[in-house]
Symmetry: D2
Subunit: 360 residues, 4 copies
């Protein structure tokens, strides 16, 4: 991966050059997308240029890399993104969109593939309206993007969280404790729902439905009476109680950059349950462990296929659209569909997880 | 889990009793299906009876178990099937179908849920035609059943195989060797395709397309010339060469029970490549490791949802159908759809995997 | 595992009956010890009785279980302890030691094997002085017990922590962040030292040596300048700064039972580094994940061998001693040796880990 | 890692230059040794040169690499060896030892650290007698080297094999089968003994003790009668029956390079047990999976400490010796000690594993 120094000569292959960036939080599978793009783009006659650190790379107009086959060798089975990422939004910068266009021209790139979540795809959508030839690839570890069945990174996160929840059974049982596990999901509970079921949590709490402390303590006590004096609770970081008084909630904390810090709901819940039931309670915050490390098979495959499709969409001229998984096929759908309403866990699935709340 | 001794009294709850069996090869996620059925059936007012060892349990009319909530406690996160399984087919036994009906009556079961692959679902389909109130749940680790997007067990197998393939890179590279990894898939290459990509195999060989020894040796040599003197090849047990002479193939071996033994293709391929390229070649047969152990998060969730749906289909009277995954929802589809044509890897996906055959 | 109801008749086999308890925090490998004891004791002609929840089981004189071969089937590959555990200390209870003796008599047990850490072994040592025929088995996940090379649970915890630290590299690198990982170890840094090296942490902070914020920030900045703008720091929960003012430390928090809560050092460190270097910092507290789940191969083997030895020590009449690992052999050493000075990471090993602090 | 082109100028640092090679089969932890050497050598004032592909690199006098801090960045947590390896022995080549000396001179290397097993250390020992300043680091995944408690790679292999054996329980139980797992160990059964116990195998067969088909079939049948109609057998590739007739054994097969192929004992055993007991038997050969992939925490730590010690031994002038683990410390021991008698599993440990052969 050698610096491209912004030179245009020989940058691409016959059909031109595609710039690629990754924006927002990292998700396992990003490198598979990048590799998929490069292999397919090359086979179609395009060169690929990597932009460093999301939109920041475009607005500063530096730090680019030629993405040739050698640069993406074996990267698909690693986590994170070799391009780096940031939360920079060109529309929050004076003259930002203009700088994007100028930079792309300077790099000799006619096309842009933006891999990211709602923010990144929102920017891509606006740029497309402004005439930039941009293609999106949806990325959210939370799986809460509309217009695609699954997003990569989600399956890996579910496996990580499920394994943690499974493992915690042995220590909870040995000490007759309640353990509250905090799982990613500020606005949608997909990871918690899936990993809660897959890990064997006895109670699952999601942002989609206010929880009742009475219900929770009732299950803990029912389990105790049934001879199972331990309980594992999986809670989304964004879950909230039905009664503010039952739990003094101050989940919003920001770091010195203004980003929201990981919650605090698990700790508060553990303290409250301990106070009400008299049982020893502990909490675990999975945090970055859920997005860290190598992607699952599902996520490498999904990422690879999305990358291949994105390169083909460039070739087919399907700009202003993104590659999305529908059933078993990867399809081109308008970017607007992604940036509309959040996809949350539907009521019937919430009901399904409550089936297992009774002592089992 | 106490023996039910075939007694009818108190067998079910208000609405009657459902018999459940698992047939064919085991797949991670079976226990999640069983637990899902029991929890949902109980909540709907049905009791559940477990039949031991597939259809054998029904034809012998013994070895049954009450499946109450306690019997299925925490089983969903374990591999295999607590009911045991077999390859018995009642239609291959004189008076078999009649015995099934008699046994179900004897057990006080009005309903039957059969969890299994093409064979088991084929039997279920015939029994439905004969008037038995039967529901199917599709199971094949190979993911080659039509009428459902994914089957449980498949994702776990892909993760197991992908991890093996990823790990083998370090030893192949250190010794400058070719390693051929044999992956499950006699008639369809889904596990090989997915785990090959997800594990970073450099060559992927499927039953869907005859392979060329010339092509394979060419890639091995191209990689050597490009400074990567090692190659990982993922091959389905059912893959075949385009030229019989290029590889003396005798993959069919049977054990003393008449079952087809795990192949031999990897070993033959390794020997042939070694002979042609002069490079050291080794082979690894993943075999039972792919179906062994705990299910992935995806498979527990899919199994659980299929089980819940199957119980609901009993309640809704949707007999002669099976529960299937379509996009994100679980739907009832006719059993005939499952037992028709095999779902194989389509040509465009085969082309996708060949994108990565060039030295990378 | 059926309740033993305290009856003496037929309790043991020819040579008498051994009571077994597990005390203190759970550690992966406890069940292997229990199984090892039962198999070896049986082969030597003893019966075994399990006491529930540590010393609590003895002082309350109830909740015991016959530990026969069936009760310990396959338990050695599971985490936690099937006997349960507690932090009860009979010497903190009026007449506690007398109750222990009375209970053992009531259970028909002439011998006691106590599996636990410094507290449990201290109690065992006092009981031995009071004439009870007691044998110890050392257990501390922190590996800080003298008189034994390794304790079971430690290797599992190191693997868990190392895997987390390895995985966190991808997300730290993608976001150019500092991630501080809090690892178990209030008084000794063995897990942090081992997992820090094995996971590739760039800085390792132990309770054995006060750390300097200047040094830490210097490494973070040196790495940035060398083109690696991310840093992983592994810190023991009990590590402290050389200068109290550099980090406002209030690590001691207690739950409603008076137990010390998991720390807070990682969070404080992350905030301080962020404030001083201007880099985004995050923290992860591994907590209970380190002791949760199935034991590593090393820990099952060590636990099994300790259990076998403990049963043999009963038969050889080596009371007042414990089984300990010395090189490759399991030996009987006096209990006093275990309850003396804490085994901490020696200076030369601390120097070894600092070898890797420079940007690499 | 840039080619060093054999130049002497500026090759080392103040005190001279150390050549490093890895020989024989790869083992997880090799890269940790290499990194440990480089960091410690640099801190002591030495430069380090890497030799490619074992002794082959020295005899051909080409393919060397400067091993600076950048070249060994993060390599310790990866499997295999970045130097490559081979089975070349300079004493089998006309004038080989002389070429070694000439090559080292040509590379400007006064010192040599050879990391390898009995063959490599035997060569090192002879070279030391011929006046070469050589230090050894013991490597054998089989743990059968004398003079060191453990060798790196062994713990990783035990964990891999134990996980496979644990996982196979679910499928063996579901199908009521016998599964025979072939584990590494041609002459010593350490991996089989450890992984057999740690994985919960019901029968463990080692090269150290001839096995009896009668005994094995008896356990299989006893387990069936006790209601556990499945058995997992862990067998070393080098295990042999007491009666040649009970099992037609032809385990010796060689590839076109004259290397011994992976066994065949598991398959033969499975067929024989199936024929005698009438039960379905399957076999799995773990093969290269045991040495593939990332090292365990134990192995990274052991490798790192051995590497550090080896560099310190160069500085202390302890040539003709190797770094070895004794209890918790790394000590310098004469190379002769390593190349003498093979370390095999002692009788009392074999007796320990037989404790668990009865139905459990």
């Amino acid at each position: 991966m050698t610096p491209a120094q912004g030179n245009v000569d020989g940058a691409g292959q016959g059909k031109g050059r595609i710039a690629v960036l990754t924006g927002g939080g990292d998700a396992p599978g990003l490198n598979a997308v990048i590799r998929g793009i490069v292999h397919r783009a090359n086979s179609l006659g395009y060169g690929v240029l990597g932009l460093r650190n999301g939109w920041a790379g475009l607005t500063t107009g530096k730090e680019t890399f030629d993405l040739d086959l050698d640069a993406v060798k074996d990267i698909h089975i690693t986590g994170g993104t070799i391009l780096g990422t940031s939360r920079t939004n060109p529309y929050n910068i004076d003259g930002g969109p203009g700088m994007v266009k100028t930079s792309l021209d300077g790099f000799g790139c006619e096309y842009l593939i933006a891999i990211g979540g709602e923010d990144t795809l929102g920017v891509a959508n606006k740029l497309a309206a402004d005439g930039i030839k941009v293609i999106g690839v949806p990325k959210t570890i939370d799986n809460d993007l509309s217009a695609t069945d699954y997003t990569f990174g989600f399956d890996t996160a579910c496996n990580r969280a499920a394994e943690a929840i499974r493992n915690l059974h042995t220590t909870a049982r040995s000490h007759s404790r309640v353990i509250v596990v905090e799982v990613m999901g500020r606005h949608a509970g997909w990871i918690t729902w899936n990993s809660g079921i897959a890990g064997g949590a006895h109670i699952v709490l999601l942002p989609e439905e206010r929880f009742s402390m009475d219900d929770i303590c009732h299950v803990v006590e029912e389990r105790e009476n049934a001879g199972d004096p331990y309980t594992i609770i999986a809670v989304s970081e964004g879950a909230l109680p039905d009664d503010q008084e039952s739990l003094a909630l101050q989940t919003e904390e920001r770091d010195s950059f203004g980003h929201v810090r990981l919650g605090g709901i698990a700790q508060k819940l553990a303290k409250s349950i301990e106070a009400r039931t008299g049982k020893e309670c502990r909490h675990v915050v999975l945090g970055h462990l859920q997005r860290a490390g190598a992607p699952s098979a599902f996520d490498v495959v999904l990422g690879t296929r999305l990358g291949i499709k994105a390169a083909e969409m460039v070739d087919a001229g399907e700009f202003g659209k993104m590659a999305a998984l529908r059933g078993l096929s990867i399809e081109a759908v308008p970017l607007e569909e992604a940036v509309g309403t959040l996809k949350t866990v539907p009521d019937d699935m919430i009901a399904e997880s409550r089936l297992f709340w009774s002592p089992d």
